[in-house]
């Protein structure tokens, strides 16, 4: 069977009667290419249904108002019954909208495709470790990792002591389709399996507004820090990168983050959890170059434990250095090898402002909501005291203009997950 056969689309959309359906399921059992085609078709179907629904919600009120005010030939032709109907309709827009959502949800969950087919998209090396030294020295943090308990491998990145390792780095490329997998799973009525939840992919699925690069620079590098909403004694640091179209970067380019040991006890990179079967040398395969597309951006979150909130170990003491140096939380550097020195190297400092989460920019609130959603779905030991209800609240606070409706769609997805968790 090849992907040009319309029967495959019919199969993916659950349009076939039983004998035909089974026959095709058998025929494609051995072809990953065809299975992927089917999974992608279903993904597009889910996305299209969702966009139609969002577009409908937006249009529902406006044209009705217009009709009611203008009162053209319709009214004389249809009589008072319809007038009453349309007026009543204005009042029940919300209620019926919900019921139509439900019917669409159940329609999309009718798929007969086995879940392993739909979810079978992860490729080896797709989620290479971002900190090479982590992979090389896995027992560096055995004390912190030991807290993970007697459970199976979770791959979560632990808090890392700044004293032992002040530097961390992240790749400029997030290559994870995770959000669509998570979304499809929840829309089908299933909470996604832990390993399919890739938080960095979820965060970066959404567009964020960062300033354009300064003249003469290829990227703008933006740092923010607020009180961490799911653990109030911690800080949440956001690193936002925006690039110009056409810059070419090597695939191993990274943002380097250096934490100030006088201010920070430990830090944790959110997401980028390791895969169980991940080869240790996967970084070495990360060769080649990328050209940065228009609108490129990267959002990375660190959870940071300030020094004053951890018990000082014997022999350590709070430095009494005065001035800004003591307030400096971290320095982030972007070094694009091969680019000329002026445009390829950017360095930014971040001081701890102690801003409350409520004062955070919308985009940061929203990204935090997505991160916490991912951690709750993974049942992460670092999810803190956040809840799905709070995820919804943070996402609503951070919703902003939401021109494409992506954020509204996210909020609805969290609501669905909430009802799945309850049931």
């Amino acid at each position: 069977m090849n992907v040009d056969d319309p029967k495959l689309t019919a199969f993916a959309l659950d349009e076939l009667d039983e004998p035909k359906r089974s026959a095709i399921a058998r025929a494609i059992a051995d072809s990953r290419e065809v299975q992927r085609f089917v999974a992608e078709t279903q993904e597009f179907a889910v996305a299209l249904r969702s966009e139609y629904r969002l577009a409908l919600e937006r249009e529902l009120v406006a044209p009705r108002k217009l009709t009611a005010i203008q009162g053209d030939g319709f009214w004389s032709k249809t009589g008072p019954l319809t007038i009453a109907a349309v007026i009543a309709v204005l009042a029940v827009v919300g209620a019926v909208m919900f019921s139509s959502n439900e019917s669409r949800m159940s329609a999309s969950s009718r798929s007969n495709l086995p879940r392993h087919l739909a979810g079978d998209r992860a490729q080896p090396n797709q989620f290479a470790p971002v900190e090479a030294e982590d992979a090389a020295r896995p027992d560096q943090n055995e004390k912190l990792q030991a807290d993970a308990g007697p459970y199976a491998f979770t791959g979560e990145r632990p808090f890392v002591s700044v004293k032992s390792r002040p530097r961390s780095s992240v790749s400029l490329v997030v290559n994870s389709p995770s959000y669509l997998d998570v979304r499809r799973s929840i829309n089908e009525g299933l909470l996604p399996p832990r390993e399919s939840v890739r938080i960095e992919g979820m965060i970066n699925h959404f567009p964020y507004e960062y300033p354009q690069p300064n003249a003469g620079e290829s990227f703008s590098l933006n740092l923010d820090v607020v009180i961490c909403p799911w653990e109030q004694t911690h800080r949440l640091v956001r690193i936002g990168l925006k690039g110009n179209q056409g810059v070419t970067v090597r695939a191993d380019s990274r943002i380097e983050v250096e934490f100030n040991p006088q201010r920070v006890a430990s830090y944790r990179l959110i997401g980028y959890d390791r895969q169980e079967a991940e080869p240790q040398d996967s970084n070495e395969k990360n060769v080649g170059s990328y050209s940065i597309a228009a609108g490129y951006s990267l959002t990375t979150l660190y959870e940071v434990v300030p020094l004053k909130h951890v018990r000082a170990a014997p022999g350590t003491h709070m430095p009494n250095a005065a001035g800004e140096e003591a307030e400096l939380l971290l320095t982030a550097r972007l070094n694009i090898p091969g680019n000329d020195a002026a445009s390829g190297f950017i360095e930014r400092n971040l001081s701890d402002t102690g801003f409350d989460f409520a004062a955070a920019p919308n985009d940061l609130k929203f990204a935090a909501a997505v991160a916490e959603f991912g951690m709750i779905l993974r049942d992460s030991e670092y999810k803190g005291n956040g809840s799905l209800q709070q995820v919804i609240e943070w996402a609503q606070q951070g919703r902003g203009a939401d021109v494409n409706g992506y954020r509204a769609d996210f909020i609805e997805l969290v609501r669905k997950a909430q009802s799945l968790k309850k049931s």
Partner: protein, 183 residues
């Protein structure tokens, strides 16, 4: 106890609510004109009210879209825009908007995928809308478009293929996390 008239009115209200905007979009795609689309949809509801009692037992979607489609094609005929009436021409006619993603109001009007849908040939747009907005089966869509379920399958398959292709072409500009590898 509810009177028969109340029940009938509630039923009609719900149908107007459920189908008004989808029918407006559908008719607009065929006529290419917002105001004409409104006339067509109003005419459709009037007919439904007159004849609906006879078809109470049926799922109204097929009936509504069929009547709406015929009314929209009639408008085109009256306007002597025969090229729009001819089914074959409709099938190959590309939208007048090739890939106009830079128009602000368009960006705000619909989602990313729907903007790509609006660049497909009209009949492909039709099947996509009937299938994914209104959850109709191939058979129902075939009845509405006066063709075979097989042909609906081919149209939908072709439309999704093009959609996927164009999505991949432009996604780099909209999905910020996926820089394009250099060949």
């Amino acid at each position: 106890m509810r009177s028969g008239i109340t029940a009938k009115r509630e039923e009609f209200e719900e149908i107007v609510h459920r189908f008004e905007v989808p029918l407006l979009q559908y008719a607009r795609r065929i006529t290419g004109d917002r105001e004409q689309a409104r006339d067509v949809v109003q005419e459709t509801f009037v007919k439904f009210q007159r004849n609906g009692a006879l078809r109470r037992e049926d799922e109204p979607a097929t009936w509504l879209f069929t009547v709406c489609r015929n009314a929209a094609l009639n408008v085109c005929r009256k306007e002597r825009r025969m090229m729009y009436v001819d089914e074959d021409v409709i099938e190959v006619r590309e939208s007048e908007q090739p890939m106009p993603f830079d128009r602000l109001e368009q960006k705000e009007a619909t989602g990313f995928l729907l903007r790509i849908v609006s660049t497909l040939p009209v009949r492909q747009q039709e099947v996509i809308q009937l299938k994914f907005q209104n959850d109709l089966s191939y058979q129902q869509i075939a009845e509405i478009m006066q063709t075979t379920a097989n042909n609906v399958g081919v149209l939908l398959h072709t439309a999704l293929k093009t959609l996927r292709h164009r999505y991949a072409q432009v996604a780099g500009d909209f999905i910020p996390f996926r820089p394009r590898p250099i060949e």
